[in-house]
């Protein structure tokens, strides 16, 4: 069993980085969306590896089950022209890539300056701890978050809702009158 953790980690890392790159590089937008869902799934695996099954479950529930589907809806309601690579490049592409890479390097280097704590939390589920934290210390932010969600929902509906046609609907044919 000694090797299982690192092997899993390596596998998931490959999948996550590959999936993320795929999202950014894929020519077709549906591919991007599906690869994003794939990345999210592997991220959930990462959470399980870290011992946070609850977060992993939420991750799948929300990101895969809701957000990806929502984005697919967005994809399907807007025209995705086949000239995807026409949409791909722009003048600042090399600059953008350069800035991202330059910023990534020091951060990844800094990442290796962290160390695990001496005593780790006992394995075996984060459900109770998470629930306790959310409903005690973080009860107020939790409520605020729910208000945020509600307002986002209302806002999205208002944004997308079409103006009702001002013209009254045409009268249905009168069955009594001969045509």
């Amino acid at each position: 069993m000694d090797v299982l953790g690192p092997i899993l980690f390596a596998f998931l890392t490959l999948m996550i980085v590959g999936g993320g790159l795929g999202v950014v590089l894929a020519g077709r937008i549906t591919t991007s969306a599906l690869l994003m869902a794939f990345t999210f799934l592997n991220m959930a695996g990462m959470f399980v590896l870290l011992g946070s099954e609850t977060i992993a479950a939420f991750q799948v529930l929300i990101y895969v089950g809701a957000i990806t589907v929502l984005i697919l809806y967005g994809v399907m309601f807007t025209p995705q022209t086949p000239r995807a690579y026409g949409l791909f490049f722009q003048k600042q592409t090399p600059w953008g890539a350069l800035v991202a890479a330059l910023a990534a390097l020091p951060v990844i280097v800094v990442a290796f300056s962290f160390h695990d704590a001496a005593s780790l939390p006992a394995p075996g589920g984060d459900l109770n701890a998470l629930a306790t934290a959310v409903f005690t210390s973080f009860a107020f932010p939790f409520e605020v978050a729910s208000v945020l969600l509600l307002s986002a929902m209302v806002g999205a509906i208002v944004l997308v809702k079409r103006e009702p046609a001002s013209r009254p609907p045409a009268a249905p044919p009168d069955p009594e009158r001969p045509v």
């Binding site: 069993m1 299982l4 549906t30 599906l34 869902a37 099954e53 609850t54 479950a57 939420f58 799948v60 529930l61 895969v64 089950g65 809701a66 990806t68 589907v69 697919l72 809806y73 399907m76 589920g125 459900l127 009254p168 609907p169 045409a170 009268a171 249905p172 009168d174």
Partner: protein, 382 residues
């Protein structure tokens, strides 16, 4: 070095167990699907005063096997301009989460794949994943009926997930655990949860019908409007996987959830002495619920998409939310007894059943009046 059974390395033992389990579960799903299709056809036939399949095998028992063989033997057809990769991936995306659900189903005390402490959450999670495959299937078919069907299904599934999960949460509040085994173990007596929170059971039943695309919520397969929805372009075993295996597999899963949460799962006479007897009780209860599903199918007509959505958002979600709030408050107020919760839930159930038709009637009258008004003004204008 720890040693597993039969002198095997634990890792190897685990892998062997995994393979055996997967094979068993797939076989189970396949067989139960075949059986369920037969059952469905027979029950529908009986309820419609027909005979149903009777040629192949005794009482037509082998009819579905023959159908399955035909599906497997069929040519793998793809319509032109389908998105091949997605077209192939979609059935797998629908099937896999359903398959994964079986891991946590508690068939009997010795027969549980994994008792994880977030079992129910895990099931809800997997339930939400199938949507992805359906949307992809609709998209990949490159056919407007498929696309509309896929989007409708996705909208329906996502919407009905909300009341479904809220009903589950109500049950979880009463039991106090997300683990399927613990939930089962909490209902050893004759008073199972269905007597305590009947309204949650009713709302979950409705959501489950919608989540499994069963009548009266089987819009994706609304032939008169959409051909066969996202399934239009599928044929052969891909179609078989998506429709037969997944649909009936999902029915089994949701019925198992209901059995576990409300009907006491494997509990029944004799289980304490002979644990493996639990499988019998569990299966019996699940099949009873499936028969209810089939009964509903034979009885109710299909809803329109707008009726379906407004029923979910305007009626089901408010009712489940109210139920959840009332249950939570009563549980806090009376921490020692479940009696107030039960009374409140029964009252709410009766109110729901009685008030719903009344309100619907009033709404319909209102709508008809408005329509008449508009017609009158329109004819005046013309």
């Amino acid at each position: 070095m720890p040693v597993g059974p039969f002198g095997l390395d634990p890792l190897v033992w685990a892998i062997i167990r995994l393979i055996v389990a997967v094979v068993l579960v797939v076989a189970l799903i396949l067989n139960s699907s075949l059986l369920l299709i037969y059952l469905e056809r027979k029950t529908q036939a009986i309820m419609q005063d027909r005979i149903g399949p009777y040629h192949t095998g005794p009482f037509g028992l082998l009819q579905t096997f023959a159908d399955a063989l035909k599906l497997i033997a069929k040519e793998d057809v793809r319509a032109g301009q389908t998105d091949v990769a997605f077209f192939i991936a979609a059935p797998a995306l629908v099937f896999t989460p359903m398959l994964a659900s079986y891991v946590v189903l508690p068939f009997a005390p010795p027969l549980v794949g994994a008792d994880i402490n977030i079992g129910l959450l895990y099931l809800a999670t997997l339930g939400s994943m199938g949507v992805l495959g359906i949307v992809i299937a609709g998209w990949a078919s490159n056919n407007k009926y498929s696309l509309v069907g896929g989007l409708r299904s996705a909208g329906q599934l996502i919407s009905y997930e909300v009341p479904g999960i809220l009903s589950l949460v109500t049950a979880v509040l009463v039991v106090g655990s997300l683990s399927m085994v613990k939930i089962t173990e909490s209902q050893t007596g004759p008073i199972t949860n269905i007597f305590i929170i009947p309204l949650a059971f009713a709302t979950y039943l409705v959501s489950a019908l919608a989540e499994t695309n069963r009548t009266p919520f089987d819009l994706p397969e609304a032939e008169s409007e959409l051909v066969a929805g996202y399934l239009t372009e599928y044929s052969g075993m891909r179609w078989g996987t998506m429709l037969a295996l997944t649909e009936y597999g999902n029915v089994v899963v949701v019925c198992s959830i209901m059995t576990t949460l409300w009907l006491g799962g494997w509990n029944g006479p004799g289980v304490a002495a002979v644990p493996i007897l639990g499988v019998v009780w569990f299966t019996l209860k699940v099949y009873a619920l499936i028969l209810v599903f089939m009964w509903v199918r034979a009885t109710l007509p299909r809803l329109r998409i707008d009726q379906l959505m407004s029923f979910c958002w305007k009626i089901l979600i408010p009712v489940t939310l109210l139920n959840l709030a009332v249950t939570a408050v009563l549980l806090i107020a009376f921490p020692t007894t479940l009696l107030p919760v039960a009374i409140a839930n029964w009252i709410l159930l009766v109110a729901f059943v009685v008030l719903l038709p009344v309100l619907q009637q009033r709404r319909l009258r209102h709508l008809r009046a408005r329509l008449r008004e508009r017609t009158a003004t329109a004819s005046l204008a013309s």
